[in-house]
């Protein structure tokens, strides 16, 4: 057994949320620069230049890339040999989020009750936490502040097995088409296929954080990602939805076994500010 203090989790969560909100990852920065050469629309090019410049300002001055500093989503892998001491796991994560958002001047965007009061909790908590138990004696934290302009454009469907590959392609492309300019294109499209209705969406969400230059390891799914990306970029939506051939930067599909009667598909849309950071304790 290895002892880990709750405070270590809190501190790491805080550090990661600050980092994620100020710094875009290198793979995305490189991809954005490449798109400047690929984009044909003058307005599209202008938008891409603004995005690149904005990311530079944010990292240089440590100010948020986007004013929507997101709902705090945390994926945790806890080693089964970890013994957590001096505190509560969930509380430690929420405390880390609270400190990051309060001390880092990030926007607090959480309301307590979705329908009636909609009162801001002023701490950006509670976080959305997904926990997996894995072999080992470490804790791996993946944080992703999720903006809601793109979250609102996400969609889920319970397709029939007979819908096959075409059903998948049509559903993803249609979801992106309907979203148009709303989710701040160029987007990253997370796709989860299989499992149950709930597991499909969590899978889609986690797929977003894969590096943009890494296709699915299964060549059939990698080909599907490529085909969907081409079809999306052929829609003409373009950067900021103002026309162009760069509508998405990447399509990331992850899949998992499912029931003989179904083919769940979830599409989680993410804006160009696909923020995430990882750390290990």
């Amino acid at each position: 057994m290895r002892e880990i203090k709750a405070n270590q989790i809190k501190d790491k969560i805080k550090e990661l949320f600050l980092k994620a909100n100020f710094y875009i990852n290198q793979d995305l920065i490189l991809r954005l620069k490449e798109t400047l050469k690929e984009e044909n629309s003058p307005i599209g090019k202008y938008v891409l230049q603004m995005i690149i410049e904005n990311n530079q300002i944010a990292s240089r001055e440590e100010v948020p890339i986007c004013q929507d500093t997101g709902l705090a989503v945390v994926f945790v892998e806890v080693g089964q040999e970890v013994y957590l001491i001096d505190g509560d796991f969930t509380e430690a994560i929420n405390q880390g989020v609270k400190e990051a958002y309060q001390e880092g001047y990030l926007r607090k965007s959480v309301v307590d009750d979705p329908v009636f009061e909609r009162k801001n909790t002023k701490t950006n908590t509670p976080a959305i936490i997904y926990t997996d138990i894995v072999p080992g004696d470490k804790i791996k934290l993946l944080v992703t502040p999720k903006g809601f302009g793109s979250e609102n454009m996400s969609a889920i469907a319970m397709l029939k097995p007979a819908d096959g590959e075409k059903g998948i392609i049509d559903f993803v492309v249609e979801t992106v088409k309907k979203a148009g300019p709303n989710p701040c294109p160029p987007t990253i499209i997370g796709v989860g296929i299989g499992g149950t209705i709930d597991k499909a969406m969590v899978t889609a969400k986690k797929a977003i954080v894969r590096k943009v230059n890494q296709p699915n390891k299964n060549s059939k799914y990698a080909a599907l990602e490529k085909e969907i990306l081409t079809k999306i970029n052929n829609l003409g939506i373009g950067p900021a939805g103002l026309g162009g051939n760069i509508t998405s930067l990447a399509v990331h599909i992850d899949y998992l076994p499912t029931h003989i009667a179904g083919m769940p598909i979830a599409v989680n849309v993410c804006c160009h500010a696909a923020r995430h950071a990882e750390g290990i304790i």
């Binding site: 100010v63 890339i65 004013q67 302009g149 709303n182 829609l235 003409g236």
Partner: protein
């Protein structure tokens, strides 16, 4: 890329009718940041016939909720939120003389009809470039609904705020005209 047109607030009708979908503009003057919760409250006041916390005539509303100001900054990050959520509240404001909205994304048919009827303009700012946009904010104050936090109404004095005319007074809509040119 054509040169951006310089415009100032409050908007003058002669200035507004000259703006065409696709024009780049640099906005200077006061603009009001308000989003979901503030709109809801304003509409309730309109329904009750009560005084509004901001002047509407000739003004521009910026659909936005900033991050809290970091020390040394008036405003560290602010950018447009998605506009369609404000659609149900928009026609009554246009009827009261609101002349411009800055946001991002589609508007409803009702809003577009009201934009044409009232001779107003819908501008898009680029979403997710909040650190860049915040540089145009030269003064910032909360003027109403402080209890709403990020959703309070902020009055910004901006200089050369970068935006693009998406829907003009005749209802020409860049979101409809531009993407088909790149569709394959």
């Amino acid at each position: 890329m054509t040169q951006a047109k310089k415009i100032t607030t409050p908007l003058d009708i002669k200035e507004i009718i000259n703006l065409r979908a696709g024009d780049f503009v640099n906005i200077t003057g006061n603009i009001y940041a308000a989003r979901d919760a503030a709109h809801k409250r304003i509409i309730e006041l309109i329904k009750k016939g009560q005084k509004l916390p901001i002047e509407i005539k000739g003004q521009i509303i910026f659909y936005a909720g900033p991050t809290p100001a970091k020390p040394g900054y008036l405003c560290a990050s602010v950018g447009p939120t998605t506009s369609y959520r404000m659609d149900p509240y928009t026609p009554p404001l246009l009827d009261l003389g609101l002349k411009g909205m800055i946001g991002k994304g589609f508007r409803s048919k009702e809003v577009i009809d009201s934009i044409k009827k009232n001779k107003a303009v819908y501008f898009a700012a680029v979403g997710g470039v909040a650190a860049l946009i915040a540089r145009s904010v030269k003064k910032s104050e909360v003027i109403a609904y402080e209890d709403l936090g990020a959703e309070a109404i902020h009055r910004y004095y901006v200089e050369d705020f970068p935006a693009i005319v998406v829907i003009d007074t005749d209802g020409n809509n860049l979101y409809e005209t531009e993407p088909p040119k790149y569709k394959k």
